[in-house]
């Protein structure tokens, strides 16, 4: 049988429909589609895809199980390596990881590994019989700081080994960036809740409303009897550009905009937490967070949403599928463009005019690509006299974050690098004995799966550390 050169297409909501709702965009493969896509896997000997996965899921093995029609078996294979398959199947940048290495991808489109992973996880969640066996307790206690992807992964792996694990979360809901950052239409919150419930069933305790570094310090966690601590506190304060007008009303960080909509449910019809809806919106930045913010603004009723990015489409760091979805939904990409000033409304006749101090436009300059920088990306250079004003009333800055200062400022002997990221060795061990760290708190803003990989590495190291104690 000839191999289909293309991936089986993912069924999605029509762009014109989904641009006005918060339901999930991608609908998932059917059983038949999954079997047909699985049949494209060559099951090649050297398994390059596995090396492309930060947590090394045994990809050809789980795909073979799908071919056999044993979906639960496929789930068991994935579970050996990943504690959040329904999440990864949705948000991993597969094109830069497993699928990038796929042998089939040399000649054709690679196998839709992410889509298959999602199918397996959703099938399992829909047909699950609760037969979780809580592993025998080994008497050791570990504290996890933060319930995002790295923390949940570390907690899950340790709980499966019999550790008694407590996860401390600063916000009122567990999930970290999966809850406050990634929107419902890309990752339904019910899926995150299900994964968290799965950990609770394994005996993991989750304490919300505890800010480590404030409510309790790392040292106090040891006083409470924890023998090791994993810090997965995530990225911190949003960066701004430092241009005039960034404090005008109508300028948000992407973190704030997304937190209001996702965590605080401001997207609902009658929310208790306000958010600016409608109008013309510019999102500055080109990462996944920028795509999420732009598509959220669109769904909140914006007439026009721009992505303003200083490089070209080729350098855009967002996951390819998100960019494609954004384009289909009508997001207007203003590439090779950089803001220089945000302009506010000011009525010289009336200081009490309620419109005063709100955004009325953003001055931008056109850019061209110059010489490559240290990382090999071509540096954008402004084109003289190319300024123009973009007519907008909301601006969302999505240009990265700086590490949160709360833990390092209250933990003596915890070393951080010049950017404020916690310094760790290859096992995730920090400069403090028994204190491990991973995810954005170490690397700065990165992906869900790399954070999970770090949580996994640390769990293994913590197990070795405590079992040799």
């Amino acid at each position: 049988m000839a191999i289909d050169p293309k991936k089986h297409e993912m069924p999605t909501q029509e762009p014109s429909v989904r641009a006005h709702n918060f339901s999930e965009v991608a609908l998932g493969y059917t059983y038949e589609m999954a079997k047909a896509e699985a049949a494209r896997c060559l099951n090649c000997k050297n398994q390059p895809c596995v090396n492309g996965c930060p947590v090394n899921v045994h990809i050809p093995d789980f795909i073979s199980k799908i071919k056999e029609g044993d979906i639960e078996g496929a789930y068991d294979v994935i579970s050996l390596s990943s504690s959040l398959p329904a999440v990864c199947g949705r948000v991993c940048p597969q094109e830069n990881q497993c699928e990038k290495n796929c042998t089939l991808g040399v000649k054709f489109e690679p196998v839709g590994i992410g889509r298959l992973e999602r199918f397996v996880a959703d099938y399992h969640n829909a047909n699950e019989k609760s037969n979780v066996t809580v592993p025998e307790n080994n008497g050791h206690r570990v504290a996890i700081v933060g319930s995002g992807p790295s923390g949940l992964t570390c907690a899950g792996d340790l709980a499966k080994l019999g550790y008694s694990v407590t996860v401390y979360e600063a916000l009122h809901t567990a999930g970290g960036v999966l809850v406050y950052g990634i929107p419902e239409f890309r990752l339904p919150k019910s899926i995150v809740a299900k994964e968290v419930d799965g950990l609770k069933a394994l005996g993991v305790k989750i304490e919300t409303n505890v800010v480590i570094g404030k409510t309790l310090t790392i040292d106090e966690l040891f006083d409470l009897g924890f023998e090791a601590v994993f810090i997965g506190s995530g990225a911190g304060l949003p960066n701004f550009m430092g241009i005039p007008g960034e404090s005008l009303k109508g300028v948000y960080s992407a973190n704030e905009f997304l937190t209001r909509s996702n965590l605080m449910k401001a997207y609902r019809d009658d929310p208790e937490t306000p958010i600016m809806k409608g109008g013309k919106v510019a999102v500055v930045g080109g990462g996944n967070v920028a795509m999420d913010a732009a598509r959220t603004a669109l769904r909140l009723g914006a007439e026009t949403v721009y992505i303003v990015y200083r490089r070209s489409m080729e350098e855009l760091p967002a996951r390819r599928e998100e960019v494609e979805h954004a384009l289909e939904e009508g997001i207007d990409f203003r590439l090779l463009t950089n803001p220089t000033e945000i302009i506010g409304f000011s009525n010289p006749e009336d200081a009490r005019d309620p419109r005063n101090g709100f955004v009325k436009g953003m001055k931008c300059i056109k850019m061209e690509l110059g010489e490559p920088d240290a990382r090999g990306r071509r540096r954008p250079v402004p084109i003289e006299n190319s300024e123009f004003i973009l007519d907008v009333d909301t601006v969302i800055m999505s240009i990265g974050t700086s590490p949160n200062p709360l833990i390092k400022s209250t933990t003596e002997g915890l070393e951080v690098n010049e950017r404020g990221g916690i310094i760790v060795n290859e096992d995730g061990l920090t400069s403090r004995d028994g204190v491990y760290a991973g995810g954005d708190a170490v690397t700065g803003a990165a992906t869900v799966i790399s954070a999970m990989g770090a949580g996994k590495t640390a769990a293994k190291a913590i197990d070795e550390y405590l079992s040799s104690k």
Binding site: L216, G236, K249, E256, T259, M264, E272, P274
Partner: protein, 284 residues
């Protein structure tokens, strides 16, 4: 869930509650704040800690009913619960080296100023308190201030109690008469803090202001609470939740902070009216 242990109305719009939150009670220092949600799905609002009782594991909050969430909170009774209560957040008020302090509080801001005054009194500093209200009905915490202040001046806008006028009048008189404060700490409406700072400026006395901007997470993640400081001619962005809430009054861009504070004025008015209507219906 966090239990409301006591509830007391201080005036028609200001309520005091003690909330059971032992971890917060153990840690909170004057000047720090907490964030609470009244119910699941509710808004997160920051409130400054008005006192703690580590033994009973309670944290005192004092709030004015100004919007939908404070209205909902005000409707709760003793032995009922609120869904979330997290803290202590922000940095505590710095007290080192201050032997002669002037505390200037306005309106419900006095609820935050009071524990700061108490702390300085406990540390043996000379405490001069000036507290201002719109009128006598709105006066709160007079006895508490009296017991921790070496001198207490009460001002009302309409002259219905204490002296008539605003808090800058006695402050200027004191500074004019040669009073050498090490620090003026002011907590209240932004416009009051701005004018306290302007009043102190000619006398070269340092001023600390307590900022209370719009916040969501309160832990240094969303950036909603940012404000601009002018430091040596340069504009610097700071975050009230992790860098504050106390700032050097001479550096704060008050006009920007006042403008940002009104970002959701329309939304808040509608939400408040809707909440009032809801309670109105229930009572009828």
């Amino acid at each position: 869930m966090y239990k409301i242990v006591t509830k007391k109305c201080l005036n028609p719009t200001v309520t005091q509650m003690e909330i059971e939150a032992p971890l917060v009670a153990r840690k909170a220092r004057p000047g720090q704040f907490i964030i609470l949600r009244v119910h699941d799905e509710g808004e997160r609002i920051p409130l400054t800690v008005a006192g703690t009782d580590a033994e009973r594991g309670t944290v005192k909050i004092i709030f004015q009913i100004v919007g939908a969430t404070t209205k909902l909170l005000g409707e709760k009774n003793e032995n009922e619960y609120i869904s979330d209560f997290v803290g202590p957040l922000g940095e505590a008020t710095h007290t080192e080296g201050i032997k002669n302090v002037c505390i200037v509080g306005g309106g419900v801001g006095c609820a935050i100023a009071m524990p700061v005054a108490e702390e300085f009194h406990k540390l043996g500093a000379k405490v001069t308190s000036i507290i201002g209200f719109r009128s006598r009905d709105l006066l709160i915490l007079e006895d508490e201030f009296a017991s921790c202040s070496d001198s207490l001046t009460i001002m009302t806008d309409d002259g219905s109690y204490g002296r008539e006028g605003n808090v800058t009048v006695p402050l200027r008189e004191m500074l004019e008469s040669g009073e050498k404060f090490d620090m003026i700490i002011t907590i209240g409406p932004l416009v009051m803090m701005k004018f306290v700072t302007l009043t102190a400026k000619p006398y070269g006395v340092p001023v600390t202001v307590s900022m209370n901007p719009i916040m969501i997470d309160g832990t240094g993640m969303c950036g909603g609470c940012r404000l601009t400081l002018n430091v040596d001619g340069k504009k610097i962005t700071k975050f009230a939740c992790v860098d504050g809430p106390d700032f050097n009054g001479y550096e704060v861009d008050f006009d920007e902070a006042m403008s940002r504070g009104r970002m959701y004025a329309d939304f808040e008015r509608h939400a408040y009216e809707a909440t009032c209507n809801l309670f109105g219906k229930e009572k009828n």
